[in-house]
């Protein structure tokens, strides 16, 4: 699947509905994932694995911190940087 911000938002929405149940407002790029209580610390790891599986790209250990999950937009930005770094390292 192509890694776009929309695709990431959609993926997070599905994850949250599966883990926590339906939300009143759909997740969007500025939804407060942690402060809003949608993601807890024990689910950060599961979400990370899910993202890696869904977009078929590895996320190097230690490259994500809790603040990277503040909103989907922040997470998308950080993942873009990680995967850009990894591409340039490989080439």
């Amino acid at each position: 699947m192509e890694f776009t911000q929309e695709a990431l938002v959609d993926m997070i929405q599905r994850f949250i509905v599966r883990e926590k149940g339906a939300t009143t407002e759909p997740v969007n790029e500025v939804t407060a994932l942690l402060r809003g209580g949608l993601l807890d610390s024990l689910r950060l790891v599961e979400l990370t694995q899910q993202i890696s599986n869904e977009f078929a790209r590895p996320i190097p250990r230690g490259s994500l911190m809790p603040e990277d999950f503040e909103t989907p937009a922040v997470l998308w930005q950080r993942l873009s940087e990680i995967w850009a770094e990894n591409s340039s390292n490989v080439s």
Partner: protein, 559 residues
């Protein structure tokens, strides 16, 4: 008594180039200090504090992250006879206004004279805190002279101020003296049989008593190195702990119970060489058999056995650890008749293959000089295997909460035993088992959450019927910890309940930085009351698990 400063000087003299602490990170540049470098940093920090008028019994608060300079600043404060207290770092989840206002309360209680700030604090968040003299760790350890003579601390001089491990609740602090800490460290090392070739890997936060005592002070006293991970970085990447163990050949690692579940979920495709590990230390929350088995199964190729687990029980009121397993007394995994336990709190051993049972894991024997007594509600001692209130008396027991005379009445019985508020029993070998709590405390990932405080904040949410919110913990077997459940009544129409639930969840998380496992809205008068007419936490917990408020999530039922 040798003070911690004398020991630091000794380590720097005997082993100047030996590793003291290595900052392990995949995000930040890794860095390390040897003993000689740490001594230098402590001396410079001491010179800084002295030059700024900080001295004997002055409280110095440290906060703001996983910085190597923390070590020098902490020891520099002790060098001049000041009293360091480590405060929680701001979490990305907590509302900043609430965080700073809670911090003001803690600083006020402690009478803090100076704030030492790590790199994760870029500015102080409240007008009041800005008025307290402050500086960043790097500046404090940058340079300084003349180096003052170390304060000649006696055993009853204060060493540090430890805040209770509570996430919520009015702050309670315990003043630990040099003598108390030295006796605790000595008792721990006697039980653990720690060798001089130990290397410890830890992610535990240092504002928590277990982290402060077991992965900061005890290694400093013993002169052994620590591979130190940031708590926040670890939470998002739990297998970092295994990387640290592998890369640095750590011999001991810190594993509160939920860590077992966390690490058991690391994909099988990732493998680690953990052959250096000799001890896994677990404390902070009860160890569960299911979490341990999941971990052992996942890492079966490492041939771990439960004998290498050092399971500890204790509280900040007695520095940190009162009972612990060890090489001479490994943890006992005992299977108890379920019916006899639930009806009479009597732990009768059964063959697990023959009937319904519950598994209990022991917390070992009392440490050197420590006594544990199990009593009924009137204080009368109970027989072996009969659960009751756990009273403790130790050579490092506190004398009362710092600055809180309102809490210091009737803390001890006539023989000087302190009522821990926990429930448990002892067996014929002297092993202690902690099985519950008198207080309705919830422990999530080793952190204490007080239901009363959560209920108070839920009651402020518009749409929640005032005074009609209740919360409690339920065991989450897969996660190896507890989950917080919040129930509340509302007169709003049912189509508004979804939004209300989300608002309640958000309010609790941003107020207290706690994970909320489940939130349910119920109609008026649906919650269970006690005979006294108050909301019954235990009763509502039973109803919740029975499905009276809707089917609970699978994880609540052991799924």
């Amino acid at each position: 008594m040798q003070t911690i400063i004398e020991l630091l000087q000794q380590h720097a003299s005997n082993n100047p180039d030996g590793l003291c602490v290595h900052l392990f990170s995949k995000r930040k540049k890794q860095a390390a200090l040897n003993w000689s470098q740490l001594l230098g940093a402590a001396q410079r920090a001491a010179a800084f504090f002295k030059a700024n008028g900080i001295g004997h019994r002055d409280a110095v608060a440290l906060m703001g992250g996983h910085d190597l300079d923390f070590y020098g600043v902490w020891l520099g404060a002790v060098w001049v006879g000041a009293v360091p207290c480590v405060l929680p770092d701001p979490s990305v989840r907590v509302d900043r206004g609430i965080y700073w206002s809670r911090l003001e309360m803690m600083l006020g209680f402690a009478g803090v004279k100076f704030l030492a700030l790590g790199s994760s604090i870029t500015e102080l968040g409240s007008t009041w805190t800005k008025q307290i003299p402050h500086s960043w760790y790097q500046q404090i350890t940058a340079s300084g002279e003349p180096i003052p003579e170390p304060y000649p601390a006696a055993a009853d001089d204060p060493l540090l101020l430890q805040h209770s491990a509570g996430t919520t609740g009015t702050p309670k602090s315990v003043l630990l003296t040099h003598g108390m800490v030295e006796r605790q460290v000595d008792a721990l090392m006697s039980r653990s049989g720690r060798g001089s070739d130990e290397i410890i890997a830890s992610w535990l936060p240092l504002y928590h008593d277990l982290g402060m005592i077991c992965s900061f002070l005890t290694p400093l006293y013993a002169g052994v190195p620590v591979i130190w991970l940031s708590t926040f970085e670890w939470v998002a990447n739990p297998s970092l702990l295994l990387d640290a163990i592998q890369e640095h050949r750590a011999t001991r690692a810190m594993f509160p119970n939920f860590t077992f579940g966390f690490l058991a979920s690391v994909p099988e495709t990732e493998s680690f060489d953990l052959s250096s590990l000799r001890t896994i230390y677990s404390g902070g929350e009860p160890v569960t058999e299911s979490a341990v088995r999941a971990f052992l199964k996942r890492y079966s190729s490492s041939n771990f056995s439960t004998d290498m687990f050092h399971v500890g029980y204790g509280m900040a009121e007695s520095v940190a650890v009162v009972t612990q397993t060890g090489p001479e007394c490994p943890p006992k995994f005992t299977y108890i008749d379920k019916e006899e336990w639930s009806q009479r709190h009597h732990a009768v051993r059964v063959d697990p293959s023959k009937g319904e049972c519950v598994a209990h894991v022991s917390c070992g024997l009392p440490l050197k000089g420590c006594r544990v007594r199990i009593v009924d509600e009137r204080g009368k001692p109970l027989p072996l295997r009969q659960a009751g209130r756990v009273l403790v008396k130790t050579p490092f027991l506190f004398s009362g909460y710092f600055g809180r005379d309102d809490l210091n009445q009737n803390l001890f019985d006539e023989e000087g035993f302190y009522d821990s508020g926990d429930l448990g029993y002892t067996d014929e070998d002297g092993h202690v088992y902690i099985t519950g709590r008198l207080k309705d405390l919830v422990i999530i990932g080793g952190r204490n959450v007080y239901p009363h405080d959560v209920e108070d904040v839920v009651n402020t949410v518009r749409g929640v019927y005032p005074g009609r919110a209740v919360c409690f913990g339920i065991p989450l077997a897969r996660m190896g910890t507890e989950g917080l459940v919040v129930l509340f009544e509302s007169e709003e129409q049912e189509d508004a309940w979804q939004e209300l639930r989300e608002l309640v969840r958000q309010t609790v998380t941003s107020s207290y930085d706690v994970d909320v496992f489940d939130v349910r809205c119920v109609p008026r008068t649906a919650l269970r009351k006690s005979t006294a007419g108050k909301l019954a936490r235990a009763g509502n917990r039973t109803w919740y698990l029975e499905g009276r408020f809707g089917e609970p999530p699978k994880a609540a039922l052991g799924g």
